[in-house]
Symmetry: C2
Subunit: 731 residues, 2 copies
């Protein structure tokens, strides 16, 4: 009898918990546990103190809730943003301290919103197809709903019935109605903005006890499951957790996923939301973390702002929630330590407790070679990250052969980026935007984002005839995806991946094979074999957007010393100043640059004639919106072309002690022993030793048997490729 | 009797010490003390381990002593450089471990030099007027002598008489003879290269017991004291310890000063070399430290390589020696901690011991507002550094009104640089050189150094008629120096300094007043009043070489979007691309840029008409030798012109959290209430409050009484200037 009654008690407690407030960000029990832990764990303590200091500065003051007027970065925008954070934090403190003043602060603000919101129409600065009321775009209104909804829940117990009605009808209903009726189509999209919208409506639904709101949030306005939060979990990530807009937007989307899931888990545990789709939220988070550089910045796939990193608030929330919900992951703990703050619920307690207990956390997230498929079913190409090295000596090659990436996608099929020793070596412009800076186009994406940053020439992949992939048309690009041909990622000394893209240009087939090699002498090399094949004559431009100080070239060029003009007239070319050019013929050309004390040499095989351009962005940029970035562009003209390039990492420059070691490359000569539809056999001489790369261009099966012989060299191998260095396979 | 005998014992011990080897880098007793301390102090221990690891890798190997062939950065250059370091370190280890293998390594190398050196003539890559034998320039041979001399002394006890003779006659005598005979004029110069030369000859003299060498080193080849080490101590520094070539070269010169002084102090303490000229070596070191940025990089006065900082080897030696010789200076200890290594003698022990004992060393060197005179007598102008703020929030304004600075001087009289929060905000190109990188002009000063980096337009001071000061003629420039008019550095809220330069241009008198103000609201402002006066019409260009992202301007400009051309044709102008220009009239113009999350706005008064150029370096640079750096250049034409500029530090951009605060300037309007030969009265409105700066242009006495009235405003003050903000003096 005793046992049974305990069960009953627990059940009753749980049922009461569902009915009790708070129940979104944390429960009453959870709040009590957080309160106890504050004195115990330094990271929790300092996070609490920081929140308290922020909020206490506003206690007893009359907080401005201005009539919306300014775009992002302007006063009213930033004020409303600050307001929802303040309400949320003050609500938390009310529960952790019991001090009514925190609840009163929130109440007064929510009552002001209750007066303001019913009066609002589209924001005067609204320009997008999903305008906001409080902000210039609905997305920001959704942010407001998520936090204001939680804030309301957090102070619910302090309000009387009249105040509750006033806030629910005045502050929330107009926003929910606007989203689910006025912006219904947008709300029902499968898109990261709609994730925020659903989370906002859903959290308000939970906070106000409105089942209709919660159901619309979970299953779409028609409640048929074709849209809404569950459909978003099922469709926006690939089975591996890759989000098609790229890791920068995973960061943005993961926050509402984690917060709404937390509220759902508190109130409807039967939904098992965190376990949904084989724990897709954890996969999404870990994939996003793997797609960062050692300094925490996101790989610049699609629209990406380079000054964001994994210490951003969204990932503090996501990591704390995931660490608690999915069991202690040490990699997440390493990142949490760099974030140096936690959220004030059970997730934050778990992280702060673990960090307090671990003295020897690794310095870096456990980065590894990783392949992620794209598309809800995982059949729309993907992204491979080849990696070699440990700690700060990590080399990462990012190879993108994914689908378009929706509105934030770039025309960059078969693009590569290279990171080494914490630095971006072959770079991607990312996106052209100064988020939050009003003077720069209201903080929105700049016109140069679509005109330059998304264009093919802004990347490290082939541009055909000075025209971007899919003619720069997002709809066309969204119909296709690139395709992986094979990969070999088990031997860290010889990593390989190949992909093709046959739709980006009408009559051109593109195939790129990427090899990251680690020679026994310690040298790392990236070998890049890029085939373009067409029945017709074309101009193929392959840029290497390098970051570093130009050191020297093995070939003569003519510099534009007295006058600079743009490289072209459209498709991004109009933004590129031509600084120098060369015509080269039947040779191996080399270009060395220095990045943060390491030398990098690009060696390139030229068969027949090619042109080389050294360029810098900044033409046609009257508002100084673009960063000035450099590229070495190799241009070849004909029907079929193979670009054989090697990026060699070598030497060291110690400026303080004035020593320069191994500043010259060791790659000496390159040739193609065979190159046709069936095979490419490349030979690269490195300090006298031959490196041979044999690759299949037609048959990629693991068991296919292949052979090559030219009298001097005889090769036999099984599978899609074969690498021999000085007569031996790399280990 | 007992007491006396103790005294005798000590005297005998000391006399023996003078006769005993080693006696340059350390004495036998000192070595014994170092040996004991290794286990005690972590920093000493790790420094010892690092040296041992380096040297142990070479033990038992045959070390190459190649026939000199390559310029700086090439194999033979770097090998000989590595060799002298290896000999020196191995010699130290012989004394600390007693292991003969270390002595043998050095012996074999010195014997190889004994065979090589007598065969050498001028280096095949020699281009300077002081060619070297082992290296392309004699300066590097002097480096070799300093270290090889100490290495010989360190292993002296292990050698037999024949070996000693072979080394002294073969390795050293040809070098000493070459310096004191072949290069006699150069050796006798009062110049930092000659400091190295004297230290080399002197240390070899001490190591080999050759009084003739020591006397030539101390008093010049004629031994008359007009040149040599003592004359260099008397003449190369100003009485404040400022070295006319600038702090980057103090760094270079201080090493031989400190090492030779150490050897002299060990062998001839009666010379009291460290006390010489009121402890000038300590003054030189502290002045050099004060002329660094918070990140340790040297202020870019004259030729300066920006990637050098106070962690360089020269300053490790200097700080360790000085810390021991001059008593524990905590500021030096802070720097020593960042250097993270010590030398293996008593100096290093003292530093390592102190650091081990102090847990709460300050994070930064104790930077302060400091004025340094230039010239051996301190009467050739100087450099003032105005400073406000603590820790990383330090703002430093460097104002240079010194003499030419010998061969490394720039044509930059009345130049300013600004550092804030660890970043260079208004910058100076420094020097154009990639020291140690063979591909870049053999690592020597690039042609662009003289053609661009030293020219006036590369600085933040007025260029008249597109011609550098003194027509870019070093000899002419060396005849004159600028002159300080007054300074006021006691009130940190209102720092002021003024200087004039009347010789740089034939008929133009230049006067610049710099004010670093800290308003009660917390804002920092640099106010810059720059007068140019001439009986004739001129074109005055005042550049602000800014570092940061262009945000916006208050005025319209025309950008060169389709074509870029150089701003001019000579005197450095040919290296500058014009990116945009504007014509403005009777207004206050504003330009905002963002550097590392802080906004900076330059507000400039335009009376009559002015042109504004936005520029970037890189024109006429076929070898990509120049960094691309940006400037805003204000051009005015007439006889007399006053440039009234304000650099305002404001706001914050938090990219991770997408918040931007105070991104707009508060300076609103500017005017000159009076501006003539007697007074300049400037009024600057800041967020509605008036800032009035009244300055005397003729009488700079502290007791002079002055008055101004224009009906509305009535001022009365005593001294060279008066600052009123919102009706009150700044506190």
């Amino acid at each position: 009898m005793k046992k049974l009654s305990t069960v009953w008690c627990i059940l009753l407690l749980q049922l009461t918990a569902f009915a009790q407030h708070p129940k979104t960000f944390f429960t009453q029990q959870e709040a009590a546990a957080v309160k106890k832990s504050i004195a115990l764990y330094p990271l929790l303590n300092q996070s609490y103190a920081a929140v308290k200091k922020d909020v206490d500065g506003w206690l007893g003051k009359d907080i401005d809730v201005p009539v919306p007027k300014d775009p992002a970065g302007g006063y009213t925008h930033d004020k409303h943003k600050a307001n929802y954070t303040l309400m949320f934090n003050s609500g938390i403190l009310y529960n952790l301290t019991g001090n009514e003043a925190y609840a009163t602060l929130v109440k007064h603000m929510l009552l002001k919103y209750a007066a303001l919101n019913p009066t609002l129409k589209n924001h005067p600065e609204a320009t997008s197809s999903s305008p906001g009321h409080i902000f210039w775009q609905a997305l920001n209104d959704a942010n407001w709903m998520v936090y204001a909804g939680m804030a309301y829940d957090l102070i619910y117990n302090s309000l009387n019935a009249g105040e509750r009605k006033q806030i629910e009808d005045g502050a929330f209903k107009p926003e929910v109605d606007f989203f689910t009726k006025g912006l219904k189509n947008w709300f029902n999209l499968l898109h990261n903005h709609a994730v925020w919208a659903c989370a906002g409506v859903g959290i308000i639904g939970i906070a106000t006890g409105n089942k209709d709101y919660v159901d619309m949030a979970l299953y779409g306005t028609e409640k048929n499951g074709k849209s809404g939060f569950i459909a978003q979990m099922d469709n926006l990530f690939s089975p591996d957790g890759y989000y098609t807009e790229g890791p920068y937007y995973t960061r943005y989307a993961i926050l509402p996923y984690m917060l709404f899931a937390t509220a759902l888990n508190n109130t409807n545990p039967a939904l098992k939301i965190f376990e949904h789709r084989d724990s897709i939220l954890l996969k999404a988070l870990l994939t996003c973390m793997q797609q960062t550089n050692t300094n925490g910045s996101f790989f610049p796939l699609n629209d990406d702002l380079k000054d964001k990193d994994y210490t951003s608030n969204e990932l503090v929330v996501a990591i704390d929630v995931a660490y608690k919900m999915y069991g202690g992951n040490e990699g997440l703990l390493t990142v949490a330590k760099k974030q140096n703050r936690v959220i004030l619920n059970a997730g934050g307690v778990a992280v702060a407790k673990s960090i307090a207990g671990k003295k020897n956390l690794p310095d870096y997230f456990p980065y590894k070679t990783i392949e992620s498929t794209d598309g809800a079913k995982g059949n729309e190409g993907g992204v491979t990250v080849l990696r070699n090295g440990k700690g700060n000596d990590l080399t990462s090659v990012v190879f993108k052969y994914a689908s378009q990436g929706m509105g934030h996608g770039h025309f960059d099929r078969l693009n590569i980026n290279v990171f080494d020793q914490g630095n971006e070596i072959l770079l991607d412009y990312g996106s052209a935007r100064f988020v939050g800076i009003e003077q720069k186009y209201g903080g929105r994406y700049l016109p140069e984002n679509a005109k330059y940053a998304t264009q093919t020439i802004a990347h490290n992949t082939i541009t055909v005839d000075e025209t971007s992939q899919f003619n720069g048309n997002v709809e066309q690009g969204s119909q296709y995806h690139a395709e992986k041909l094979f990969s070999s990622i088990t031997n860290p000394a010889a990593l390989a991946v190949a992909a093709r893209e046959n739709n980006a240009y009408k009559d051109v087939a593109l195939q790129r094979n990427i090899y990251l090699l680690h020679l026994p002498e310690g040298k790392k090399l990236l070998v890049d074999i890029f085939n373009a094949a067409s029945p017709n004559e074309h101009q193929y431009d392959l840029p290497f957007q390098y970051s570093g100080q130009f050191i020297n070239t093995s070939f003569k060029y003519t510099a534009d010393t007295q006058k600079q003009e743009p490289l072209g007239t459209g498709n991004g070319y109009q933004f590129i100043w031509k600084e120098a050019e060369a015509t080269v013929k039947d040779t191996t050309i080399q270009f060395t640059f220095l990045n943060n004390n390491t030398y990098y040499t690009l060696s390139s095989l030229v068969q027949g004639e090619a042109q080389v351009f050294f360029t810098r962005t900044g033409a046609n940029d009257p508002n100084f919106n673009l960063r000035r970035e450099t590229a070495c562009i190799i241009r070849k003209k004909s029907k079929n072309q193979t670009f054989l390039n090697v990026l060699e990492i070598h030497g060291n420059y110690d400026a303080v002690n004035e020593f320069s070691t191994h500043s010259y490359p060791q790659v000496q000569q390159m040739s193609l022993l065979r190159n046709d539809a069936e095979y490419t056999i490349a030979m690269i001489t490195i300090a006298g030793k031959p490196l041979i790369i044999a690759q299949c261009n037609k048959e990629f099966g693991q068991s296919g048997k292949h052979a090559f012989s030219n009298g001097e060299i005889k090769l036999e191998w099984t599978g899609p490729g074969y690498i021999l260095y000085n007569g031996k396979e790399l280990q």
